[in-house]
């Protein structure tokens, strides 16, 4: 009864709106009904703008964001990240570690079906494992699977892996998209997975089925009505490839797309007018990438941590965030993603304090003899080049602001912006740099062995700044070798404390992700992990549906 009355009210409100001359704008009436309960409904098409085309439809082989997003809809893993970035079961019913953390046994759900109707079993999991470790599979996600010593199918719904040594990321690694054995098996042995028909017509177990990919134009998915977690509400998803941020923004204004990521300036300045606020909901949460100001620690001038601490004091992080990103970022205190279980902010902080910076540098021997330039005892000025990659305005601005702040304490710097591939090849890998402005994307797991362990300093490895600290080495080893979160927390908290003290990099900020979603879409509940974790529960109330879903 009450539902009926409300619906009527909506329709009346809709009619008024029409007469008032803003007929297209149905969202104005959402506000009135939003206070009460809106009934979820199936259907409608959800249009998402993506700046890059997908590169393939077997996500295990791709490494770009768009392909992963589409892949996540079509394929599922054994586990998935929940709203708080903890791993919970997806196609697995449960899992169990042996006491020594070496044996991991998975129990799989029995009600999962591939999009072609075939049942999903442990053989598919085994197959995916074999695909991942096959030397002929060009995938960037091999490492965690190569750590498996032995894998076996115990029965159709039980799968067990044995690790040579404990691997903390073991659970997370099984969020890998599981591939259908019955369709792909014959392509894997010859390394022809990419050429299989499923790479253009994928079959998965996920919430959405593949319908169409028009290269450079769009990808269309339709809801999987037999999805084991229940039929998703939104009937159709269209990913429209729009390679220009300005065009995406205009399409948003014209309501041509329902979801897009904004730039900081669009978010802060260009969308604060009533019509936009009515048509879209803006969201904001920390992304999983941070920007840093790093040094070549093999350079004797940067070897003393007081120098790095001085730089941390000389840079005003708040000013950077305001100036470069309109305040849409969070100060980074270390390399762990805020909001995850391993994160702590109880570490040494460096407030903006040029005097303290100068004092610290003076302790090391850099003194100002009255001309405003810091010199060592031989009179050589403290000057170096800050390098960053081309095509990233944000980093260039960061470098410029840092240049100015360092100039204020008497450190002279030059900025050099270099094309990405040459930058990596000529400067980073050969360690021919003094200071850099760059970023790291971090996963949900806190393990960052590759970046911080002293053994990882080779030309093709990730510890590019050359950081070596025995305590950190030990913490990283212990941290990745335990499968008990309570134990790992201790290691990673201590790890962050040491890094904050050492400042091997000046951690600047975690940029915010800034998606906007059409306000006709309901069921979005922002959480530390963002908004997308419950996409299959998003819906458009019947009266607000804009498209008929095919």
């Amino acid at each position: 009864m009450r539902g009926r009355a409300r619906l009527l009210l909506v329709m009346v409100a809709g009619a008024t709106a029409l007469f008032a001359g803003c007929g297209r704008d149905t969202s104005s009436l959402v506000e009135e009904t939003a206070s009460g309960q809106v009934t979820p409904a199936y259907g409608d098409t959800f249009v998402e703008a993506t700046i890059g085309d997908i590169s393939g439809l077997i996500p295990n082989l791709t490494s770009d964001g768009a392909s992963h997003e589409v892949g996540n809809m079509i394929y599922d893993g054994l586990v998935k990240a929940d709203k708080d970035l903890n791993y919970v079961s997806a196609m697995a019913e449960s899992w169990q570690f042996s006491a020594d953390c070496l044996e991991l046994t998975w129990r799989l759900r029995r009600d999962v079906k591939w999009h072609d109707g075939r049942p999903f079993t442990a053989d598919d999991v085994m197959f995916t494992y074999q695909v991942m470790i096959n030397p002929k599979t060009p995938t960037a996600y091999k490492e965690d699977f190569l750590a498996v010593k032995h894998a076996e199918v115990l029965d159709p719904y039980t799968f067990r892996v044995t690790y040579a040594k404990p691997l903390a990321k073991a659970i997370q690694s099984w969020s890998m998209w599981i591939l259908p054995k019955h369709l792909l098996e014959r392509y894997v042995a010859d390394g022809k997975l990419k050429e299989s028909p499923e790479n253009s017509r994928p079959v998965g177990t996920g919430a959405y089925r593949f319908q169409e990919w028009k290269s450079g134009e769009k990808v269309v998915l339709v809801s999987n009505n037999d999805y084991y977690e229940g039929r998703p509400y939104l009937g159709r998803i269209v990913y429209r490839v729009i390679p220009n941020q300005g065009t995406i923004f205009l399409e948003l204004k014209a309501k041509g797309v329902d979801l897009a990521s904004l730039t900081a300036i669009q978010y802060a300045r260009q969308t604060e007018y009533p019509a936009f606020r009515k048509a879209y909901r803006k969201h904001r949460y920390p992304s999983s990438a941070y920007t840093y100001f790093g040094f070549n620690l093999k350079d004797p001038r940067f070897a003393d941590r007081r120098v790095r601490q001085a730089f941390a004091h000389a840079i005003n992080k708040q000013e950077l965030i305001e100036g470069v990103l309109m305040g849409l970022a969070r100060e980074a205190t270390g390399p762990i993603r805020p909001g995850t279980w391993a994160y702590t902010d109880k570490v040494a902080r460096y407030d903006y304090n040029p005097e303290k910076a100068k004092a610290l540098l003076a302790q090391v021997g850099w003194k100002d003899n009255g001309d405003g330039i810091l010199r060592d005892k031989d009179g050589k000025p403290f000057s170096f080049t800050i390098r960053t990659n081309q095509g990233n305005e944000e980093r260039k601005k960061v470098a410029e602001i840092i240049q100015q702040r360092l100039g204020a304490i008497g450190v002279q710097t030059e900025i050099q912006v270099i094309e990405w591939a040459s930058f990596i090849k000529e400067f980073i890998k050969k360690k021919r740099f003094e200071a850099i402005v760059l970023g790291w994307g971090v996963g949900t797991d806190p393990d960052q062995y590759g970046v911080w362990h002293s053994s990882q300093q080779g030309p093709d490895q990730l510890n590019t700044v050359g950081y070596a600290n025995l305590e950190v080495d030990r913490l990283l080893e212990d941290g990745r070798a335990s499968c008990h979160q309570q134990e790992r927390v201790k290691y990673y908290h201590r790890f962050q404390e040491v890094l904050a003290e050492d400042q091997p990099l000046v951690f600047l900020y975690f940029r915010d992700a800034l998606p906007v979603v059409s306000s006709r879409v309901y069921g979005i509940h922002p959480a530390p992990s963002g908004i997308f974790y419950n996409f299959d529960h998003w819906y458009v109330p019947k009266q607000l549906q804009r498209y008929t879903s095919g």
């Binding site: 590169s55 960037a140 790479n199 450079g216 065009t247 205009l250 399409e251 014209a254 990730l462």
Partner: protein, 331 residues
Amino acid sequence: MLLFALRRLLLAIPLLIGITFVSFIVIHLAPGEPIPGAEEDISRQLPKEVVEKIRELYGLDKPLYVQYWNWLSRVARLDFGKSFQPDGRPVLTKISERLPVTLFLNVVELIIIVALAVPIGVLSATRQYSMFDKVTTLFVFVGFATPDFWLALLLMILFGVQLGWLPISGLRSLNWEYLSFWKQQWDFLSHLVLPIAVATFGGLAGLSRYMRQSMLETVRQDYVQTARAKGLSEQAVIAKHALRNALLPVVTVLGLSLPGLIGGSVIIESIFAIPGMGQLMVQGVFARDYPLIMGNLVIVATLTLFANLFADIVYGLVDPRIRLGGRRRRR
């Protein structure tokens, strides 16, 4: 004439091989590799052995001349290979998906440009320094100087967002499949209006100025004077005697713009979200997708050579002075 064409055709083969050789070396000299994984993301890194394995898989571990030879011998059999990108589809398939759109857009643009530029050029030349001449000169130079992307955005804001008359981007509406046949055509056309308008406006200046210049030179020739002297109407003088001759250099310019027809404009394609050749090529370059880049280059190079040859032949056919030039000199 036939012998001339045949000789040029044969000469084109070593030239084409030379072009591919130089391009092959150059794109391999550029740093970067078609290896999966993002350099900047800790969670997506490949162990060294795996990188080597993938290099081996793609044949990138062999010396460059061996790689080139392998590539050339495959292309000789018209096998352009498969894309290095994760979709792994044949290069020719990828190109053939994108080519029609770009070709269609560019041909339409070219036709409109010619249809507008020739009259504009002729009229400004015959009425040199008139109001019409001054206004069109201003207009085409504004078009020449206006940045494509800026004009595109302005038009999109006006016609797409404010007035809502035209779609902003893409080639088809999302409900295209559900429209009737004629509505589909209309939908497609309405998506083309803005990109074609922007490209035409930018391209008009060059050709119309060329036409004007060539016409100005022609009307001062003795034979035009003669035509006037024998009492022909001004219209006949211009249309029959002057225009034909004035068009000759314009034909050459047009011939040279033929290869550009399949290149595609990266700016227009990306701002209007049109899935054409320009974008395909850019994506290929960023991904260091060597087979795709090379496939694209071979097609563009072949077309350029053919267009040059074609322009020469047509020029010879149209202009007797060129065809008979050699003979006259001997006399």
